[in-house]
Amino acid sequence: MFFEPFTDVIPSFFGWLNQGPLTLTIFLHTVIILPMFWIYKQEKANLNK
């Protein structure tokens, strides 16, 4: 029973994401952290120049 039926009072996008185990927070953390790899690569290239 990993994904549960929606039970919150009013349906919404975030409520829908929240149905699985930590799905909402994993999603948010991922979109925050992923672009940092790109920043890292750019800075690496800058420093190498």
């Binding site: 039970t7 009072v9 009013i10 409520g15 994401l17 929240n18 948010l28 925050i32």
Partner: protein
Amino acid sequence: MLASIKTNSFTNEGQKLGMMYFRVAIILFGAQLLMGLIAAFQFLVPGFLFELFDFSVARMVHINALIVWMLYAMIGSVYMMITDETGVETVGIKLGKLGFWVLTAAVTVVVLVYIFVQVGSGTEASIWLIHEGREYIEAPRWADIGIVVVVLIFYYNVFASYMAGKQTGIMTVMVANLMALAGLYLAGMFFTDNISMDQFWWWWVIHLWVEATWEVFVGTLAAYALIKLIGAKREIVEMWLWIEVLMLFGSGILGLGHHYFWIGTPEYWWEIGALFSSLEPVPLIAMFVHVLYDWGKEQGEAHGRGEEGNVVTNSPAMAWIVTNAFGNFLGAGVWGFFHTLPQVNIYTHGTQFTAAHGHLSFFGAYATILIGMMYYGVQKAHGVEKMKMNFNSKMGIFLITFGVLGMTVALTIAGYEQVLVERAELGGTWNAFFVAQELPWYIQAQLWRTIMGVVTLVGFIYLVWDLLTIGKKNKAQQI
């Protein structure tokens, strides 16, 4: 002693103004402790000042004096560093001084109204003239507007000096963070019939202050202080500062969710609040490591160069900043994490547990570093090259820290008892509340809290005495 207040060897006008803010801050700190003692005593003897000076009044002044003295000390600290960082005299300093007097007059009127008028009728006029009845931001609407105006003046001072002078990393963070800090206050300046909406925006002010912008402010102050007190390298300090900003804002902004578990807001905040706020202690550990590591490193290098003695140029200030590094992690980090998960918070929300966290975190995260900055101000005021602790400074820091820790432990025990008996066992009804309040363990905890409050007050007296005399003593030794 008065001569000691007036003595000043400040090299710039901003620092003089900063010192004026510090003086008011320490008076308000004293008021906070007195009001806290009255409120603590009312837990033990409910009839004390009943229908004369009720708990609600004492508690309102207690927490408002806290917020206002911290804002005063924060503004004072910024004035201390403007010229050092930017290399120019503070722009618009005369306006800044006018702002100080306007703010101080307004604060005086507000406090007198709190104490003597206490409550109003259920009309808009009460909200405008007496108080808003919203914890922490009770200031009446007229004062809100006054505060905004004075803060705009202060911000002009900072921003114009920043634009006119050097733009260091520390100052860049300061300028950006202060804008957010000041802007957030606006979220608390309206009335709504909807209590859920009311608390939603109320937390924007309270949380985004104390768990985001104030914490970044502390990081900025610590960075500046480390350069000044132990001669830390600017490149290292500024790199740490950016890392701290990343982690503090990265966890703190969405960590706001941990206040949205039970106020009528949707269930998805459980997950957001729990996970982001669980990360909030991470930057606090980083700050702790940073302060102690840098100190050790500078000391080691100095020894390596064959220099004798301590690299610290102001040992009382440094002692308070190290206390800050530890207290911030313990009070905000550990005590905050204790009850940040919704599974725990459903039972701890609104109990003495929150009060325990509140006491240690406001002290550990903010009071400590601001007192450190006051010692730095005293050093500058007397033109002392190397300021050393004496007996009074040690008694001050020891008794205050011990007292606040003691209050926190006592309140935590009271909180546990309340959580288990009132909430888990009896379901949080009116009767459950009183059953828990009247158990011996709870009463004993409240008694210890009051005793530790007195210890804190004694420490405070040592602190004030020391701030008034240490500069002169050190100056005399120097000559």
